[in-house]
């Protein structure tokens, strides 16, 4: 598995898309730090970019990478290696290169431009941690979609719709539901609904950490009330880790039974 990981990672490290992604985060972070003047404000703006953009890029890049390497995957499947090693190696290769672009893209300008207090460094690291988890989740979801759907156009469409649903539509439906049933106790429902969407979950988790009650909204407030700040963060992080494991295990399970 590690050999396949190593070469997938090297292959991606030389792809210009990896550099675009890295440069994008670097320019945005440098721009925010420079323009806002306040580190805390820059972190809040980054939060919004991270929770929406990382899922989108990880999903799209994941699906394109999986389809583009499908013939090569077939060549690897003909070698004396376990299927699981091949797919896990490729997944880790893509995840590591995306996560590295994102982490370095934010850390480099932060080190050179940000005048951080310790507390803000901790906030930034929390943001980087959540971004890394989102990369892992959406790369796994993209691989699962690509593996199940051999028709590339359909796969692409499903991937974009999945992102659109989780990033945009879900919140809308959620609010409509809350308004519709406002006479009923909805704490448990909103807790469950937040946990079921990794984007909402990461946003809530980050707002708890940044202690921004004003931006938390209903679900953040419920999370805070239900678990308290530290416990809320712990619960949300654990749920995000489960969100990595679920699609990844599903992907490996489908891969074990698939005809190539």
């Amino acid at each position: 598995m590690w050999k396949i990981f190593k070469y997938s990672f090297f292959d991606l490290l030389r792809s210009r898309w990896t550099y675009f992604y890295f440069l994008f985060f670097m320019i945005v972070t440098a721009g925010l730090l420079h323009l806002s003047g306040q580190v805390a404000a820059a972190i809040t703006s980054l939060l919004n970019i991270v929770v929406v953009l990382i899922p989108l890029i990880s999903t799209l890049y994941g699906i394109v990478y999986f389809y583009n390497s499908s013939e090569f995957t077939e060549l690897l499947l003909a070698q004396p290696v376990r299927r699981r090693s091949i797919f896990l190696g490729q997944y880790l290769g893509l995840f590591t290169s995306l996560a590295a672009s994102f982490l370095l893209g934010i850390l480099i300008p932060a080190i050179f431009l940000g005048h951080f207090e310790v507390r803000l460094w901790l906030d930034l690291f929390y943001l980087l941690g959540i971004g890394t988890l989102l990369t892992a989740i959406f790369t796994a979801i993209a691989f699962l979609i690509a593996l199940r759907q051999t028709n590339r156009m359909k796969g692409f469409a499903i991937a974009i719709l999945t992102w659109l649903f989780l990033a945009v539509l879900y919140d809308g439906l959620f609010i409509i539901f809350l308004l519709f049933f406002e006479d009923y106790p909805l704490e448990k429902f909103s807790l469950i609904a937040t946990v079921l969407n990794p984007i909402d979950l990461s946003r809530t988790s980050l707002l708890l950490k940044l202690d921004m009650a004003a931006l938390m909204g209903y679900t953040g407030a419920v999370f805070n009330k239900f678990f308290g700040t530290s416990m809320g963060m712990l619960v949300s992080i654990s749920a995000l880790v489960l969100w990595v494991a679920g699609p990844l295990l599903g992907f490996l399970r489908v891969a074990a039974r698939k005809d190539f």
């Binding site: 050999k3 396949i4 070469y7 997938s8 090297f10 292959d11 991606l12 030389r14 792809s15 583009n68 390497s69 499908s70 013939e71 090569f72 077939e74 060549l75 690897l76 499947l77 003909a78 070698q79 004396p80 290696v81 376990r82 299927r83 039974r257 005809d259 190539f260």
Partner: protein, 241 residues
């Protein structure tokens, strides 16, 4: 060397292989022929464990292949479409497959014979289709596996490389290897094949030597013999209809 018993495979409603029984022997070149969609690639992929059979058994050197992966060390495979990670160089790809297989490899003579020396440091994404096919051949043949499966190995090759491929196949036969080739190039089959397997609609329609095929069909060329089978099938389907 490869023993296939009652192999069935369907994709959805489409039955691709129907009760295939085959014994493929070492020291011989076996050509698997058949029209498009007759199940040639599925048969090869089933031997490799890439396609999982619905029913039936496949044994490679006496080892059952179901749920196994280590037996693939006895196999080398030249796939039909050669597509590689575009940002790696030829040299890096060769190194990667060597590391993955963890077996001794001897790529230098093959690189020389297929004139790949100038391309070793080039990125795979920049290579032409023919050159990629040569890389594909080196990747499979640099290991000393006793069984070599080649799916349309001539695709995109220039005449010089094609000649070299024929010599390579002859050398491997002399070395006692079991070689299975699918191709649509009939002169290549006539020149090289010791055994012909003709697949039609997922069934083995014929297995035997070239001369047996000619005497059975009362034809003198492979093209005519195959056309004979296809016409026979057409007649049969029209009678059934």
């Amino acid at each position: 060397m490869i023993n296939i018993q009652h192999l069935h495979k369907s994709f959805g409603k489409l039955e691709v292989l129907k009760d295939v029984q085959l014994e493929i022997l070492p020291g011989k070149v076996t050509a698997v022929l058949g029209p498009n969609g007759s199940g040639k690639t599925t048969l090869m992929k089933s031997i490799l464990g890439m396609t999982l059979p619905d029913k039936g058994t496949i044994e490679v050197r006496g080892e059952p292949t179901r749920h196994a992966w280590n037996y693939r060390k006895h196999l080398s495979y030249v796939p039909q479409i050669a597509q590689f990670p575009s940002n790696l160089t030829v040299q890096e790809l060769l190194q990667m497959i060597k590391e993955v297989r963890q077996e001794p490899a001897n790529e230098d003579p093959l690189v020389d014979r297929l004139s790949l020396q100038p391309f070793l440091d080039k990125k795979l994404g920049t290579l032409s289709g023919g050159t990629r096919q040569k890389v594909n051949l080196v990747l499979a043949l640099m290991f000393d596996a006793p069984i070599v499966l080649m799916d349309e190995p001539t695709a995109g090759l220039d005449p010089v490389a094609l000649l070299e491929l024929k010599r390579l196949i002859q050398d491997m036969r002399k070395a006692g290897k079991c070689i299975v080739v699918t191709t649509h190039i009939m002169p290549l089959v006539e020149e090289l094949a010791d055994e012909i397997v003709f697949l039609l609609d997922g069934k083995v329609y014929f297995q035997g030597t070239l001369s047996e095929l000619f005497s059975l069909t009362e034809k003198n060329t492979l093209e005519e013999a195959i056309a004979h089978f296809l016409i026979q099938r057409k007649d049969r389907t029209s009678v059934n209809a």
